[in-house]
Amino acid sequence: MQLELRGITKRFGALTANDRISLKVEPGQIHSLLGENGAGKSTLMNVLFGLLHPDEGEILINGEVVKFHDSGEAVRRGIGMVHQHFMLVPVFTVAENVVLGFEPTKSLNRVNYKKATEDIRNLSRQFKLEVDPNAVIENLPVGLQQRVEILKALSHDAELLILDEPTAVLTPQEIDALMAIMRSLADAGKSILFITHKLKEVKAIADVITVIRLGQVVGSAEPSASETELASLMVGRQVQLVVEKSAFNPGEDVLEIRDLVVLDDRGLLAVDHVSLEVKAGEVLALAGVQGNGQTELVEALVGMRHVESGTIHLNGKDITNLTPRRALDAGIGHIPEDRQRDGLVLSMSVADNLVLNTPRAAPFAKRGTRNLGAVSTNAEQRVKEFDIRTTSIRSPAGSLSGGNQQKVIVARELSRDPEFLVASQPTRGLDVGSIEYVHNQIIEFRNRGKGSLIVSSELDEVYALGDRIAVMYEGRISGIVNPSISRESIGLLMAGTSMEAAGV
């Protein structure tokens, strides 16, 4: 299928998310749409998939102008989408999810599950995407869930497959598998639109690369272009891909975790007898595919999740099962995984957010009454010091860009001068400029001789920050290695292979 976008423009109020974007995807081609977070990729895909309606411009399929009122129409025209956040109903079975919206029916409007299961089996066989049609989605690992998403798209006879940041949740090996699937689909004549901000993957698979920045197409590139070229095209300036770090100079153990056992929300074992130590002046990067217990481990560290057994010591002091308040007071700084969910109150002012976890500390309050003057002074200082771009310290935090929101959190946590920093996915969804800034702040913290634990599922970040790298798989530490190790070996550890088998 040939797809063409002509001058697609989409505005949200004053913001133009897509500005006259044009591109063309040919049959059998893997067309990569490269752009950093916030460049407008997802908006464009939602427009293409009929979830949003463009303000201007048109979509052409095989030379014919089409208009989608909803995504059902897009699906019927042969467009399939694998969403970044899977569009699967967790409590439904694979079969129910795949046929949803296109169910085979019997009399009385009943769903013909027998036929549905049969169809899925055939499709699985045809495309070599094995999955049990009767399994319930929430019990499946993420890699398999993604396979269901692809099956779902294929079951609707998709000729054009859009993959929106599909590798974010996968191990390097799973990524290779996905690339192979993409290639074989393209060879079978399907068109593929591959959206990502990861340069390596683009170079590995794309036939054609279109780069967008700030909602505009800024050019196209050959897959042979160097990473630096692609990066500067994507960001619009020269980018330093490596963070400058001073020599690793470890001190005493700051944080000691012994035999930690933590359960997740559903009562399943999430952290399985984990032992770790982090030294002063060290960044320990915790790598791993999301959902392997990192979130629960961090929550246990900061007092937000009950520790079933095991101990956590900070500077020799037992901080196991403290309340979040006491964990903060004990000297743990925390940059949460989801800043809008756990880190900020979007409707409250920047100034209030800067004292969110220290509202009672001097000088911000005295005998239960807040000192709003001190809160404002503090905010003015932090805004200057951390280069937070906001119209006013009284603006709600929700009005800031993602990068500046993260700066608010970083400013708050680091200005408390914690003993230890726990940061989860500290740069997720940020633009390159903000990523550099946050990385530099973390390294500066390390250079002051403090310890930190950085959880990240981005291997680039793990390599950029970590003095040592711990890899987590299914709640266990599958290995602790030096950053000199190859990506392939880390990938094997992320997939649960033992240290010996991974050749470490």
Binding site: G38, K41, S42, V235, P324, Q340, V345, M348, G398, G403
Partner: protein, 427 residues
Amino acid sequence: MSNDVVITTDAIEPTEIKPSLWTRYSSANPLMVAALALVLGLVFGAIVIATTTPVVLDAWRGMFDHWNGIPHAVFVTWNNVSAAYRDIFTGSIVDPQTFWHSLTTGKGWTASLTPLSETLTYATPLIIVSIGVGISFQTGLFNIGANGQAVVGGIGGALVGSMIKMPTFIHLPLALVGGIVGGMVCGAVPGVLKAYTGAHEVIVTLMFNYVTYAFLLYMVLSTPFQQPGQSNDISRTIYPTAVLSPLFGSSSGLRVSFGILVAVAVVIFAWWLLDRSSLGFDFRVTGANPLAARASGINAKMVVIVVFLISGGLAGLAGYVQVASTTHYIDGGFLIGDAGIGFTAITIALLGRNRPMGTVWAAILFAALGVGGRNMQALTSIPLDLATVIQSAIVLFVATPVLVKEIFRLKKAPTSLLTLSTTGWGS
């Protein structure tokens, strides 16, 4: 770094409030929307009157019987609707005729000030209870059991006021505390259950309302609380030392009482609590983002329980203020039914956007509707319950500012008036 202009579009929902507009209009717009919602509520009330009043319906039924049938029907409709609203106004604010009479002759001030005094008398407990409800709303907790809490508060205060004898300076404060404690006990139940089992406060507080009504009937029908020598559902009368006496002396004939000073104190307390105190900061953070509240060290269980204690305590205080400034006893019909102050408080807090001063104005408005409604019922026989209908219509419109703006074709961007949104069952 030149990337500060980048806004993560992926994270922005199309309907998200534009902050610049929010800050620019948040001071002006809500007032306008509230005013327009009032207009819409009154229009809705007018439609209800026009479509249910027998005289009006008769007039329309006969519209083809006579050459001027239709004009006559319109005239009758207008007459009834305007009479109803005129009676509401004169019964709650001022009757121009008697007021003019007082102005010119200098006599009859009692009569011309009575409507306003009555409105304030009814507004006083409403202000107190609504501020309590508003505090719970700001914390994201939907306390809709204020009526039951007010009932138990009324009982608690009346027990202290009627069972022991003491000098005023100690008796009255003690009775007020009795009211607060009664409300707190009642508020503690949903608070503790919410904090420790996650039971949704909406169901628990609603159910607790019914429990308190049964409790009320039990109390007023059993010794020693029942009025001695009575077999009816009526309590002992509180001693004069526990009464909130009229502000202008009992000879003035105006009922507005010292309770209004209690209300003023509550307003100041609420302002301090929400705007200036660390505790109130915890409340607001919890209300706006409970997960961030937890991550930043706020003890969610404590907040839930304390908010319910404060909210319930204020409701209980309101219950006793109601008793001590009006009837001085409690009967089986005390605050029963949906006209109870605790239910009106929900709508008032929503209309007042949970802010203390907004709540004061909303409470006075709703008290006026209630008091005026009584006058209307007496003069035109249109039932008082119309006030409830109008009030709920107003709140429905206030809760949906976009609709108001669409109806009046306002151009400004939609801003949400409600800081409150409730959570599903699974919290």
